[in-house]
């Protein structure tokens, strides 16, 4: 069981064993075990892991990175003009979220998504990054994100949460 009073999050530590982590989706597990440490150390993705404070097993993780989105992809849903540079604008991209198979269905995924949004708020507030983007792994996940103010954009099936919405969340 996930005990949220004991859950801690920290950036991926060098040497942390990730080969035992399995969320049941091979694409995510392979990516984490093969590329996680390299991408994290090169700052091409930043990975945050979750574990109980007195255990070493990774309960879950997410990875974030800054991407450049094409402005024309978002015109129908989002006003990116203030940030557009060479037809692109910066966005915080939630690359992967994974919960260990043994701890799924206990709220950890939601907890991590909310922490992502919290971090996005801080980044948006201090740097002006206007959107948090993600690519749902399966079509079944779209309603989940849509119910949480993520709107579809562009032709790639991505969804985004605007900084305005995320910051409004902290005010209400």
């Amino acid at each position: 069981m996930v005990d949220f009073e004991r859950v801690i999050s920290c950036p991926l530590e060098a040497g942390r064993n990730l080969s035992d982590f399995s969320c049941g989706v091979s694409a995510i597990d392979d990516w984490l075990s093969r590329k996680g440490h390299v991408l994290h150390s090169k700052f091409r993705s930043r990975i945050v892991t979750y574990r109980h404070d007195d255990e070493q097993d990774v309960l879950g993780f997410y990875s974030l990175k800054i991407v450049l989105e094409r402005e024309k992809e978002v015109r129908t849903t989002f006003d990116a003009r203030p940030w557009v540079l060479n037809a692109t604008f910066p966005a915080l991209h939630l690359e992967f979220v994974g919960v260990c198979a043994r701890h799924q269905g206990q709220g950890l995924g939601t907890y991590m998504l909310m922490e992502c949004i919290e971090r996005f708020c801080m980044i948006a507030e201090t740097t002006g990054v206007p959107a948090l983007t993600l690519q749902p792994l399966t079509p079944e996940l779209r309603p989940y994100y849509a119910a949480r103010n993520f709107v579809e954009y562009g032709s790639s099936g991505g969804m985004l949460l605007t900084a305005q919405t995320a910051l409004a969340l902290r005010r209400v």
């Binding site: 949220f4 004991r6 989002f78 919405t165 409004a168």
Partner: protein
């Protein structure tokens, strides 16, 4: 007289408007839509966020 005629011609010329492309107009409409539809967090997002904050407070209380 001549100067009067010239000024009356100029008075009929409207000052040029700043260029506003179709794209800009569409983005303005979208901004309005965005403000109207998406800025208010949904009940689901709010509930999840409140739950997350409560869990975090419990965690901090347990640590201290």
């Amino acid at each position: 007289m001549a100067s009067l005629r010239i000024s009356s011609i100029f008075s009929r010329v409207k000052p040029p408007k700043p260029p506003k492309s179709a794209v800009t107009a569409r983005v303005c409409r979208n901004l309005h839509k965005l403000t109207k539809d998406h800025v208010v967090p949904s009940a689901e997002l709010k509930a999840d966020y409140d739950w997350y904050i409560a869990m975090k407070r419990k965690r901090n209380a347990a640590v201290s």
